[in-house]
Amino acid sequence: MEKKQQRANLLQGTLDMLILRTLLFGPTHGHQIGKHIQRTTNDFLQMQHGSLYPALHRLERKGWVVSKWETAPDRNREFKYYRLTEKGRKQLVVEESQWKQMAEAVARVMWPAAEEN
């Protein structure tokens, strides 16, 4: 119960950005993306597979990522690898700047004193 409260739900629309950012390191498959986000945030962001896969497919449909079945280097099995496209890179820049603006705007409202200093 306690643990659950510490976990935040993803803000609407940020998942796409996080996935794109994760893919910047190189092509990877769905499971790894989820794991990566979870680990990097120290399990703060709990990855829901129910939103991960639809998001991946949505990004693919928009042409920001492409997918290919490839054999994983450490395991002798094929996984569906997602790779960032040029269009996806541009989109990441756009989303990142939007997010920054958003965060700054929220910060200004929440901690006005800090802003004055």
Partner: protein
Amino acid sequence: MWWWTKKRDEDLERELRSDLELEEEEQRERGLSSEEARFAALRAFGNPTLIREQTRVVWSWNRVEIFLRDLRISVRTLLRSSSFSLIAVLVMALCIGAATSLFTVVRSVLLKPFPFRDPGQLVMIYEHFRAPSMNTKGFNYNPVAPADYYDWRTQTHGFEDMAALRWWQFSLTGEHRELPEIVQARGGSWNLFPLLGVQAVVGRTFTESEDRPDEYVAMLSWNLFERRFGGDQSIVGKQIHLDGQSYTVVGVLPKGFTWPDAKVQIWVPYASGLPPAILQHHDFHFSSVVGRLRPAVGLASAMSQVAAVQYGLHLQNLNAPVAEEVASKTLNQALAQDVKAPLIILLCAAACMLLIGCLNVANLILARSAARQREIAVRSALGAQRSTLIRAQLMESLLISLTGGVTGVLLSLAATKWLVSNWQDLPTAQNIHADGTVLTVACGLVIVTALLAGLLPAILSTGKGAIAALHASSRNTVGSRSRTALRKTLLTVEIGVTVVLLIAAGLLLKSFWRLRTTNIGCTTDNVLTMGYSLPSKQYDTPAKVNAFNEALLEQVHSLPGVRAVGLGSTVPGAGAGEDDAFTIPEHPSTTPNAAEHDALYRTASPGYFSTLQIPLLSGRFFTSEDRIGHPNTCIISHQLAQQSFQGENPLGKHLLVPSRKIDCEIVGVVADTLYQVGNSSEATMYFPLLNGDSDQGLTLAVRVASDPLSLSLPVQKEIAKLDPQLPVSDVFTIQQIVERSLGNATLSASVVLAFAILSLMLASVGLYGILAYVTTQRTGEIGVRLALGAQREQIVRQMLGDGLRPALYGLVLGLAISVGAVHLIESMLYGTRPLDPAIFVSVAATLLLVAMLACLVPAWRASRIDPMQALRTE
């Protein structure tokens, strides 16, 4: 698209599985047992089915997929209750088929423009007699006299041009004794084809210099060109023989040119072969005139110019039947005048049936949705949106309508063909077929019926009450009351429309029966008739004409089995034929130009009346002395005697027919005959056949002991013996002539009757369905009442009352509508009135009887309910 989705699905499945396995492996590597690892992985992963579902949503095909899923479910649902689907589809197919067929015919006959240049600018122009008494006889759209046409054309400016055409009939013979045949022909003025914008496909059309009485040229219809001349283009420039006169073929008309009648095989110039004097006459009405309006001129102003010219002509010819006014019709109106009323009525009947079909299917769907109440309740409890449920129901009704519609359109192709081939003298019959417009309309019908039949039940059954049904569970009598009320309303309307159809059918049937049993004024038993026309070129003197006719009469009379033989211009029942204005010199005061002084013109041989058994009322029949060179005599009909000699003895008085230069003494009065079944009798004057006119067709009437048709060949052989080049036409018994003229009355009466019976069946099925449903719903209640001591008769009575109430309301509604609507078919009635009480009463009785029968079964079943059983199932 299908394989695409499938591939996509497999791909997703594989992706999820591989990731799940990876998770499992990782868990195992952390030290869990393989089973625990699998559960842990599944836990971490969540519900794979849900993930799949959610992922699918982002695919662009999703919408289509949902549609396909709805479709699949609907098809399955419909197939599961196949008897319901079959009935619904069948009802829809019949209704849509009938409506489509009639629309096809109506569109082709009444609406579709002719394939001419700018057909909207073309009008037919008629002479119009002012007197109301003339108009009842059909003189308000009177054929035009040639001199009037010439004056209109030269003296008015509202029309680009005007052309005239006249009816004609030829006996066509070849150079080398080929089989003779009678062909329908028209004389058309030289400018007719340019005016219509029709060009010859071979050769050319007529020139102005050919449009003269002494010019003999002809054009062939495509049909004749193909049929008789084998499509050989070298026929142009060659001679053909028409009524013994040789004509030069100048051209062939295009295949699609079937105006004004597809039976026309030969065209000659308007004036060709006419006595030059006739062209100067203002009172020989035998032409149709078609005019093309100038682009910027309105019809009214163009016609007012023609009217002014015509009134001038009337004033110049006060003593002759020259009309005071003119009138116009569109080309479609002109051709469709006789078929318009029946066509519209059949179309209305088909529309009524379509409405009934829709109501019926709506009722069926409503009944089904009642049965599926719990399914719908469960679905909406599980989160199905209302729009989804409505969509699913609409999908079902759309499927029903669509399947029914496709079947119906296929049916209508056959039905249209049947209708066209059974409808005599339907104008432009060859060009009636389904086309894009018809298919579009059929599609529209399908969609409208689907909406009508599906939307109402869908909205109603998915409303707020849907969940309540789940609560009510087995005691669902309350929740469905509004639905039952709606079904009863639908049924009331359905029965109302059925009553209207039944009454229309009843009136038409009664008219038809009256027509069948009409006495046409002569015997209809064992009389064979056939027509021929002596070509005036060969038979150029009265002596030659008489020689042929008398020889024929004599030889036919000597054939075995022949009781009597007569010859005349026509026989009763075979049409109006010619009419003429007459005066009576003994009554100089009466105005000559009035309807009372117009009578049908007939010629008759001495044996004509006795052969046809037309009774003599006073005076005598013609004898062989009544012939050319002897004192002129005539016989008049009873009606003419009544009209012109009120109370006076007409015998010995005289009749003057100015246009034919006839002045003769009345020697006999015969009983009236009908020139056509369904029309009232008209004043008729008979002149001796032996005056020797050859200028018209003749009809031979042979009365025999029995089996008149068996004599047709021997009689034709006698004719061939006398003149092998003379073709014979219209070999019929009088019975057949009468039946042919009733053909269309038979057709429309039987089609409307078929619609009405079908509607009655649909309505009674609906009635049965609703009462059976109510019975099922109230099983528990009835069980309780029976257990408490209610009598079974009481239950029957109550259920009957419940079922008959919508029937009664519907009956009242239908009778009320009928009282207003029957006037529409007044013009098609004969021997009955629109508000015929006998018909109304018998329709009401029939309906109530059928309704009673439909209700009796469920009512009886309700009374047989076993109380214990009913309470236990509760």
